[in-house]
Amino acid sequence: MKLFEYQAKDIFKEAGIPIPNSVLIQEETMLEKALDTVKTPCVVKSQVLSGGRGKAGLVVFTKTKEDAQKETKRLFAKDLNIKHLLIEEAIDIKQEIYVSVTIDPNQASALLIVSKEGGVDIETLATERPEKIIKEPIDMRYGLMPYQASRVAYDLGFSKDITKALKNTFLKLYHIFVQYDAELVEINPLFITQDNIVVAGDGKLMIDDNSMFRQQRYEKGQTDYKSDAEYEAAQEGIPFIEFDGDIGLMCAGAGLTTTVYDLIHYEGGTIANYLEFGGPNYKKAVKSMEICLKVPSKVILVVTFGTIARADVMASGIVEAIKQLKPDRPIVTCIRGTNEKEAVNILKEAGLEPVFDTEEAVRKAVDIAKGGSK
């Protein structure tokens, strides 16, 4: 689960990492009071989870109260669908640093990643000038040791005060990483102010979804989802992503799904949604199809090759779903795996024309989507 900037910064603050003075607002009318605390010049920051907010005009520096009002109005406009703005004091910046803690899957360690060239796109920096990036492996049995944090901080070559503040920031960031079962915790940029204070300019914290059972603090609410269909799927525990193409996908397994996704593109088709029909969801055909039908699409394509997810159970589910939901669009099925012969019979008996080859099923769905034969 990806947290919003303001949530990450709350956690930083609690851990003792300095953050800029700021107020979170949910509507335009709250700005006036926020500016009593924050003062102009300030930064108006849209709380959205996508990257590149600056380039997209979703984070704006404003000099005057009037500017701030104008930007707030613009960003709260309905079509942008932004729920929160963070009104944050403008910091007098001397330097920007990059800091993060994440996992190194190969070494089975955590990794403290630091660069003196923060603020920029760190991915680009990693490719073009990897020597600008310090990577310190952390044995998670011992945690980040003070000597490591100290060594990395000194290697950056700042004055003693800043070095000490950086060392403490690294140690606190690692502590957050462990405490929140994080995939990634990142401060980019970490400001060094003209007064030689270290302040978190941004905050990213991704909690491992598999650890949510022991991370009770954050639960996703309806406003955290892009659409009602995604929210409804999440309530059922069904992985679901909405796109804007023509073919609704009910597929079992991430690997098979991405492959079908590729095959559809090879055939010139487009995807309306991803829905994970495998794993524990294989018995949830009715609910799954109900969610798929909420998304505009021209055809629904079901592809499975199941192991524990039995083909006959899935076939029966699809038949039941069609009976109950009476879908307004064609359904193409390619259901294989355990008890696949029974599955074929079930589908045929219900009057469907099951396909048994993935590529053939994909071609059929793309044909329908393009307006070809049903």
Binding site: I122, V178, N210
Partner: protein, 296 residues
């Protein structure tokens, strides 16, 4: 003979009395797997498929010679169960659980290294050598997939494995040993770490890897070929060429892999190393033929 597991490997099943545990224990034995005992705390004295159940792996290991342990354990208890197996000196462990906490998997992989052991999984169906033995949850009865032969298969995926393997079999080949390393960001053992076993396995003439976007496991395979640590023919199929970017892992994930991780990068690395990459599952068989791999 085969790699990792064969008909002589003695297997303990942790979580043997559970629904999944007992169901797959039956099928593992059916295929020929030497399941010798099981473990479920509090169920000592019971039997499953005539195999005795113990309260702890240590106790089981005192009564039986155990080569490998198969875990049917909920994800949140997997770390504890793996550590218990390692503690009892077991060097081959397969865990299929989907949803193991990331930090737990880091601890598991590290502990396995320290113990000089191999943990396969999680989020996988396990390991199977058709007609000989399996540890995991494969529908080994689907003959158009689990046919014995001379192709080693490694995969990060579940149903895609069935899809691709069915194509390999349709092309006239069969499988020596299939290893599902698992779909999680931190698998217990990585593609490249199994290559030595395949390299030394006389039953394996070529290897197929079924990869996907993200991580660097496929690049590590390319390195192994470059370093001549693996010299047999290798064909890869990679899902996710057209997947939308950055749906999940952020910047730092990309940094660790040094800007690698996209399917394009993987194709480039593998192709440079001399492996063939199939665009569609259907083509995997064709490419094996192209490399002159014999049909049994």
């Amino acid at each position: 003979m085969s790699i990792f597991i064969d008909q002589t490997t003695t297997v303990c099943v942790q979580g043997i009395t559970g629904k999944e545990g007992s169901f797959w224990t039956k099928h593992m034995i059916e295929l020929g797997t030497q399941v010798v005992c099981g473990v479920t705390p509090g169920k000592e004295g019971q039997t499953v498929e005539n195999k005795p159940v113990y309260n702890s792996v240590k106790k089981a290991a005192q009564q039986h010679n155990i080569d490998a342990s198969m875990l049917f354990v909920p994800p949140r208890f997997t770390k504890d169960a793996v550590f218990e197996a390692l503690d009892a000196g077991i060097k081959k462990i397969v865990t299929i659980g989907d949803g193991i906490p990331l930090h737990d998997m880091v601890a598991i992989r590290q502990a396995a290294k320290v113990h000089n052991a191999m943990v396969v999984g999680g989020n996988t169906s396990g390991v199977i050598s058709p007609k000989l033995a399996m540890m995991g949850s494969f529908p080994h009865w689907i003959e158009r997939v689990y046919k014995k032969g001379n192709i080693g298969i490694m995969t990060r995926s579940g149903s895609l494995t069935n899809e691709v393997t069915a194509m390999v079999v349709a092309a006239g080949y069969g499988v020596s040993t299939l290893i599902g390393v698992g779909g999680d960001p931190v698998p217990g053992t990585r593609f490249a770490e199994f290559l030595e076993l395949y390299e030394n396995d006389p039953e394996t003439e070529a290897v197929v890897i079924i990869g996907e976007l993200g991580g660097t496991m496929e690049e590590e395979v390319a390195e192994a070929i470059n370093d001549k640590r693996f010299t047999k023919p290798l064909v890869a199929f990679l899902g996710g060429r057209t997947a939308p970017k950055g749906q999940k892992m952020g910047h730092a994930g990309a940094i660790i892999s040094g800007g690698k991780g996209s399917v394009e990068d993987k194709i480039e690395a593998l192709t440079k190393a001399g492996a063939l990459v199939a665009e569609r599952p259907r083509l995997v068989g064709e490419l094996l033929e192209e490399l002159g791999v014999s049909k049994a």
